[in-house]
Subunit: 182 residues, 2 copies
């Protein structure tokens, strides 16, 4: 309940305008409750970012690179449209000047995503579906870039139908180009 209030407030006002008082008011608890848990605003936000990775859905092994990509891209899309996704979007500018926030993001949600992507590419390589090194190529960046552009820049919808179009028109053709024999 306090977590949800923090995400709502972060999405609305960002980091610099966030206050411990506003968190207490939004969560409907006393200030003492907030200060007992977090000494400073930075503690509170760092812990909130770290907590996101504890509740993130982790993609399963579907047995094919197409199935794995479909699942991970739907999960990425769902994350961007979630309250955590809205909070991260508002936090990004502050991250440029707050090494503690960047570290929480890199070691938390970003590390979870990177590990999931790395495992997916490693399985595809082991099955001989993609050439070695694809994980480090710009083709791999395309699997999230179109979703990220709508999330952070244009605000256009990121729904299941959109993910399927990105898969069909952009991602699966690029993966087909990256077969070992290609």
């Amino acid at each position: 309940m306090i977590r949800a209030a923090i995400l709502r407030l972060l999405a609305e006002v960002g980091y610099s305008a966030l206050t411990m008082d506003a968190v207490a008011a939004e969560a409907g608890v006393g200030k003492a409750t907030i200060y007992r848990r977090w000494r400073t605003k930075q503690d509170l936000v760092v812990d909130t970012i770290a907590d996101m990775s504890r509740v993130m859905a982790v993609p399963t092994d579907t047995g094919t690179i197409e199935g794995d990509l479909r699942e991970i891209m739907h999960l990425v899309a769902a994350a961007t449209t979630s309250p955590a996704g809205a909070a991260i979007r508002s936090l990004l500018p502050a991250m440029q000047h707050q090494p503690e926030l960047v570290a929480a993001f890199r070691n938390g949600p970003l590390a979870v995503w990177r590990a999931a992507y790395a495992a997916m590419w490693a399985r595809a390589e082991a099955r001989g579906e993609v050439r070695p090194g694809l994980a480090q190529s710009v083709a791999a960046e395309a699997t999230s870039a179109l979703i990220v552009q709508r999330w952070l820049l244009t605000g256009e919808p990121v729904d299941d139908e959109y993910v399927e179009r990105v898969l069909d028109v952009v991602v699966l053709p690029l993966i087909a180009n990256a077969r070992p024999e290609a």
Copy 2:
């Protein structure tokens, strides 16, 4: 000189923490000079965003879709790494709650880019290089998405070598798939 100071400050502190006093100090002028030109902070930022589109480089007609894409993508990359690009990145969260800022962005820099892209796709269609409707497809989104993802999310470098790799590995193969006969 005042414009450059505003862009630097916006990149550093964003919209909500920006003050007219700080703009005057950063620009090395008196507060009266700032207030004579802009009545409010919102006026100042709206005008600054509008001004970006007056100084933007507009791509030329190179005669081929490959040449046009190469030029527009290098211009987009240069824009994201410019002081204006840093200012826009810091302003994006504020745009979600400030319709005046969104309007200035949509009618200013975004409109200039959209017109340049639309003219490029229309020329390619007229030359028979791409199928009709490609401009509205997700493949067209891929021409900027990878650059935007590095600009707004990962902070990885967006230099000329990166743009060439995105062209070779992602964009030109997608355009080849979108030939009218394909």
